[in-house]
Amino acid sequence: MIAAIQLFGRLMMIAIRGQMQYRGAFLFMVAGTFVTSMVQAIGIWALFDRFGNLGVWTVAHVAFLYGTINIVFASVDITARGFDTFGSSLIRTGQFDRFLLRPASIVILVAAREVALHKLGQLLQGIFVLTYALISLEIDWTLGRLALYVFAVSSMYAFFYAIQIVRATMSFWTIESLEILNTISHGGMEAAQYPMSIYKESFTNFFTYVIPLACVAYFPMVGVLDVPDPLGSTLFTQSLAPLAGYVFFAVCLSFWFFGVKNYQSTGS
């Protein structure tokens, strides 16, 4: 286990150093993703400026959700790049066969293959917005709330990482229609920036029971922010909800192993 973590760290460092060779392009891309996320956030702010609060949800509450989700999403983008580009760079080219021959865990080899450092811009922007939210909300950080927040953030990370693993796994069969997964990853992130209670019931149900997005984002955050939930969750269910993120991760990972087991190379 320790050897695996060490290997993971070493591979990551190599990928980072490789990227740093093009410093100018790197800084430009970081600035680019920062500006990109910032202007998108301006859209949310504009709606609050025009219409006022969404019930108990002020712009600061939504900024708290938005900042947290963007930090997690960017972290996943940075660290799961190896899975994200798996289909196009390893399956289509047949390179995956060589990976299978290496004497180390295939998950680690694929995960640490590449790092999308330029997403640091989005990460910084998320931190920026979250800081604003923390200053204006003045949350009473009891130990319980802090623990729930950490629990939620970690399971949110597992949730979005799992989607990247599914994307990679699907490329064992097709690499054409993977865009559909963007509805859950990017679309999910987009949807989870607002309180789930504003959506149609069927939509909320789908993102609670089928794809547990609300369980890793909305429900625990309602608990942390201590706002009433029109969907009727209690502090007890809010605290347990993030477990669903880990279950989802486990399911997706076994799908990955199923895919690896049934993998037939692309040819000569």
Partner: protein, 279 residues
């Protein structure tokens, strides 16, 4: 002389046609794209609907106009100049741009023709299922208030088509500027990343422009990206009255001409000082 012009024009048309056939190969990807856009449209409508439900003052647009704005935006998303033709980028890194300069066609219009196909082929193939969903399926599944309404009148519809043609040209003119920037910066992804963030917001794709604060409106009115979504979409729904439509389209045309001339000038400058990579 005239036959020469016809021959030239025909070669540009065949560039468009050839690229079209290449780009229409990816059907499964197109279907996945349609599903993604529909999903996105539904999220947007639910978010905007929630805000409309709590509005204390009368919003500057009716919700019907919002619905038209959102669906037109979703089905025409691919027209936005937020990325560039990766094959053209390849020419810069491989040095193939030297061959492009040898062709007996004007480089700007040759690339314009290629870009026109790159912009429109994927969009047109995705447009039809998206429109069918937004006009026919939504009322059937019990969401008629979300369905894409017909244009405000026949005249609005015609003006929309006119404005839409200009939108396509404007979009190509901006996309080419991204390509041309690679004469100076090989790493075209940098500029693309910026455009990817800025264009959707300032065109109105993220949030309809009239919903932005009133003090921002003069600035939003005069910037070129508005001609990509805001102008045609609001003509369609009648949010821009017919009397104003021709003036708005003139503004679109003006920006298109300015950006085409700008790109043309840049190419001319780049040709003079071009160093081709590779041996």
């Amino acid at each position: 002389m005239q036959s020469l012009t016809v021959a030239l024009l025909r070669s540009y048309v065949s560039v468009v046609a050839a690229r079209f056939r290449v780009l229409l190969q990816y059907r499964a990807a197109a279907l996945a794209g349609v599903a993604t856009q529909i999903f996105w449209g539904c999220i947007k409508l639910m978010v905007l609907g929630a805000f409309y439900a709590v509005a204390v003052t009368t919003p500057p647009m009716t919700f019907t106009a919002i619905v038209a704005y959102v669906w037109l935006g979703q089905v025409l998303f691919g027209l936005l100049p937020s990325n560039h033709d990766p094959e053209l980028q390849g020419l810069f890194t491989s040095g193939g741009v030297a061959y492009e300069l040898l062709r007996p066609l004007d480089l700007y219009w040759f690339w314009f023709a290629r870009t026109l196909a790159f912009r429109t082929a994927p969009t047109l193939s995705r447009m039809v299922p998206g429109i069918i969903f937004a006009t026919l399926v939504l009322p059937l599944i019990g969401l008629p208030e979300w369905a894409l309404p017909a244009p405000a009148s026949v005249a609005h519809g015609l003006m929309f088509l006119l404005s839409f043609v200009v939108t396509v040209m404007l979009s190509c003119a901006i996309t080419i500027l991204i390509t041309i920037s690679m004469f100076w910066m090989i790493e075209g992804r940098g500029i693309s990343t910026f455009m990817y963030g800025v264009v959707p917001v300032f065109s109105g794709m993220i949030v309809p422009l009239p919903l932005f604060p009133d003090w921002m409106q003069p600035f939003l009115y005069w910037q070129p990206f508005r001609g990509l979504c805001d102008v045609p979409f609001r003509i369609y729904s009648g949010d821009i009255p017919l009397a104003m439509a021709s003036q708005e389209i003139m503004l679109q045309v003006m920006w298109t001409v300015i950006l085409v001339l700008f790109g043309y000038g840049l190419i001319a400058r780049a040709r003079v000082r071009l160093v081709v990579q590779g041996g």
